[in-house]
């Protein structure tokens, strides 16, 4: 067998490996999480966290926006009850994501699902949702690999941030703070299946922006998601042709 044949063979085996496919799907999120995790790590160190505390929060909490808010509140000497309650509200949206994924993962081992759900984020949820919608028989192992890959990206970014965080660094100067909205933009594009989804996205976006003026703790996100998803159901009952 020539060298190229061996390579072809190896590549074929790899491509068929469900873990490998999942890692490839998760890799862009891994890369996208590096600058955001880095920015978090820097801010945590500036707030007086030790490197271990900085990384430990990423490992245990693993929720970007809540970690930024949590670090800010610790720096402002906010009480522990307020911090924890705020975190709960900010992350309550995962309830909707978990429910949305659960229906497509019926019959899976509950212990594995419990572990899987620990790694649900806005981004891994978005990637896995599109994947499940386009392909009904994605292996659970592949979805899990997406989650673990993204998780490792977040932890790696946090470690890098913790390593350089002792020196003052301006995250805005390098555009690190825009990695998150940019990731939301591309993930939203992935969701826009047809005109109805585009309309729902615009209405949800406008409503969420308006509600953010009067609500705090990410409640505008939860209320918008609940209402505009319901609007989607109403529209398709009203006009069954538009699905």
């Amino acid at each position: 067998m020539s060298n190229t044949q061996i390579n072809e063979h190896a590549r074929f085996k790899l491509a068929n490996n469900s873990v490998f496919i999942g890692i490839m799907k998760g890799l862009p999120v891994f890369v996208g999480y590096l600058p955001i995790g880095f920015a978090y790590g820097v801010l945590a160190m500036q707030a007086g966290f030790t490197a271990i505390e900085t990384v430990l929060m990423s490992i245990m909490v693993y929720a970007g926006s809540a970690q930024f808010i949590g670090v800010g509140m610790v720096a402002a000497a906010t009480g522990i009850t307020t911090i924890i309650l705020t975190t709960f509200l900010v992350n309550l949206r995962h309830l909707l994501m978990s429910a949305s994924l659960a229906q497509r993962l019926s019959g899976k081992d509950k212990r594995k699902l419990a572990l899987f759900s620990y790694l649900i984020t806005d981004e891994s949820f978005a990637v896995n949702s599109v994947w499940l919608r386009n392909n009904n028989d994605v292996a659970f192992r592949s979805l899990f690999s997406v989650n673990v890959t993204a998780y490792l990206g977040w932890i790696s970014g946090s470690i890098l941030g913790a390593l350089v965080g002792a020196q003052p660094i301006n995250v805005e100067k390098y555009g690190l703070d825009y990695a998150l909205p940019a990731m939301f933009i591309i993930l939203l594009i992935f969701q826009l299946e047809n005109r109805k989804y585009i309309v729902l996205a615009i209405i949800a976006g406008v409503l969420s922006t308006l509600l953010s003026q009067v609500l705090s703790h990410n409640l505008h996100i939860i209320i918008t998601t609940v209402l505009i998803s319901a609007l989607g159901v109403v529209i398709s009952r009203w006009k069954p042709a538009v699905r």
Binding site: T87, S98, A99, S106, A114
Partner: protein
């Protein structure tokens, strides 16, 4: 500034209240038959939650809604085009970060 031992409790507390909403629907709904409207509703969550997360970031500038002189909104235009054309997360994030840096340079 809190002492370090209480910071550990902050982290543990945050971890617990973050995990609860992530795990409960997964465990309780994964083997339930849901009515078709509820299933459909769950299917719209990815698009609505992402739009709800994204738009306030783009349209808010200095605590208020802003359509002009808003770097986040301006940078979204090339970022959106890059995303639409490439359908690639990595390229889109790079274009977004490059755009915001450029726009801030010109908008001092």
């Amino acid at each position: 500034m809190e002492t370090s031992s209480s910071l550990i409790w902050v982290i543990i507390g945050m971890a617990i209240v973050t995990y609860i909403p992530r795990v409960i629907p997964m465990i309780y709904l994964s083997d339930k038959e849901l009515p078709s409207w509820l299933n459909e509703w769950l299917g719209y969550i990815p698009v609505t939650v992402l739009a709800a997360l994204l738009f306030p970031i783009l349209f808010m500038n200095d605590q208020q809604i802003s359509f002009s002189q808003n770097p986040n909104l301006l940078a979204a235009i090339p970022t959106f085009i890059a995303g639409f054309l490439t359908k690639n997360i990595f390229v889109t994030v790079l274009v977004g970060m490059g755009s915001i840096v450029g726009i801030r340079l010109f908008m001092i």
